[in-house]
Symmetry: C2
């Protein structure tokens, strides 16, 4: 049986009532399991993880996108994270008995439905992108919600589904298909965003760093600190501990300390076990020696 994971990000991280309304359609549906949702106040964003049978997941997420359109007004939205829509991104990740092409197909199906049902313009990204310059989410979202009117004046940025016109409160949405990633942030004990930015540059692929790290700086004003925020796009090749140690190593240059880190959304067990294995120097260890909690249920 095919299993897909979907990780929609909604632009609401503070109002718990609204968040509950958005995730409600993902609960109690046959073939859909809501695994996790995690709101971030600074980002003013909630990251939701569902898993299940492809059609069932698609239909449930479609409903949630509809609710987000009703309860979120992008004209008043403020947060530390880039965003251009009420449902900002919606990636599908093939997990089992499913090819990337099939995940792309699912992304296109829901994209067409979102544009028709909700009048929200849809961009396809990553593996679902219609042209190479749309593969990178950061480029698709560049200009954010406030820049959408200008973006749509450029014929190169016509949406993949819907009219070249932002939804007046829900903006636009990026729907894609991709491999699993880990959203990973490392906290620095400095309020200086330039330091976070310089460190991000040294570790990310685009400016000479590790192949499977995307990174940027974020301010966390309420704690007086900054963050290197990352996507680890292939943790089997660029491990989480490597990102962590690389940031620590670069931070030394500025007399700055790494205070800790955080994982946003879910993290595959094997990525965490790999970190334990690295730090404990485990010999002869393999994943089949891990007694998973769900095996005991």
């Amino acid at each position: 049986m095919a299993i897909v994971q979907c990780v929609p990000n909604f632009s609401e991280g503070r109002d718990l009532d609204k968040i509950e309304k958005i995730v409600a359609p993902l609960r109690g549906k046959e073939g859909v399991k809501l695994l996790n949702y995690e709101a971030d106040k600074d980002y003013n964003r909630v990251v939701v993880t569902v898993i299940g049978e492809p059609k069932a997941v698609k239909n449930a997420v479609l409903e949630a996108i509809g609710v987000a359109k009703e309860v979120i007004d992008m004209n008043t939205h403020k947060g530390q994270h880039s965003r251009f829509g009420a449902t900002d991104v919606c990636p599908f990740i093939p997990i089992k008995d499913m090819t990337m092409d099939e995940a792309v197909e699912l992304a296109k199906e829901i994209g067409e439905e979102v544009s028709k049902l909700y009048d929200i313009p849809v961009f396809l990204y990553e593996s679902a992108a219609s042209k190479p310059e749309r593969e990178n989410l950061a480029k698709v979202r560049k200009g954010e919600y406030e820049g959408l009117d200008a973006k749509f004046e450029d014929p190169n940025w016509a949406p993949d589904f819907g009219l070249a016109k932002k939804h007046p409160t829900a903006g636009a949405i990026a729907i894609g298909a991709r491999k699993p990633l880990i959203a990973y942030n490392i906290n620095l004990d400095t309020p200086n965003i330039e330091i976070a930015s310089n460190i991000a540059k040294t570790i990310r692929q685009s400016s000479g760093g590790y192949r499977f790290i995307k990174a940027g700086p974020v301010e966390i004003p309420e704690r007086g600190i900054t963050q290197v925020t990352m996507n680890l796009t292939d943790y089997t090749k660029t491990a989480m501990y490597r990102a962590f140690e690389a940031v620590k190593m670069e931070a030394r240059r500025y007399g700055v300390n790494v205070m800790g880190s955080e994982i946003v959304g879910l993290c595959p067990m094997e990525a965490l076990v790999d970190c334990a294995s690295y730090y404990l120097g485990l010999e002869n260890f393999s994943l089949d020696k891990v007694l998973e909690t769900s095996l005991m249920e």
Copy 2:
């Protein structure tokens, strides 16, 4: 449905044919899942982990104990690990919908059957012990196989089941019920067993160390190193990383380095995730954020 884990240790770690014969009864049985078996040449011992429905696990393990009696001759057995029988220990661990009392009952049932079917004297240990001085496995096994004749001359050491007489090739067996533990060894880059012994003393409860660590020294002559070998008897209270860092800290005193470590048998996922969480300084992390491999199957 009740689930029990059983971790029998057999005194054969070198002859793969014999090991396969011993684990064969644990395969393909309704209600029994063979999770792992791991042979150690230096220890000349194999640690097997099965999980499943209590009666089914008991019957399958009973068969395996019978095979071990046939294929292992303790009179020619040599290895770095203490042992007094062909099946040396056989602990039952209640995992789900099962009390410790029920695990004790299971241990007693199989104990009686082992003595009757195979003429092997049985000692009950840990939670199944018939008197306090039999709770500690090390005390039960003291004198090892070679000391069994002398042990049985002492009326205080009459077995819990069977006659006070060792089986001529299979010795004796310790059967018990206990909480989950992690068998964890840390490798030191010294051949000096006294250093390993001194470090073991500093970290184990019995001589002033951590509450839930049992530890001792082991020589690994083929690698020219030594090991601090441990049982972490409650990893939720004495974490794996704490044992590792404590050994590193003590080793410095001797100019000795920790080369790495190893887990024998299975390790609960949460113990490894806790280590990753410690070393990465994860904030706001909890087990429900781990995407387990078996959820994706």
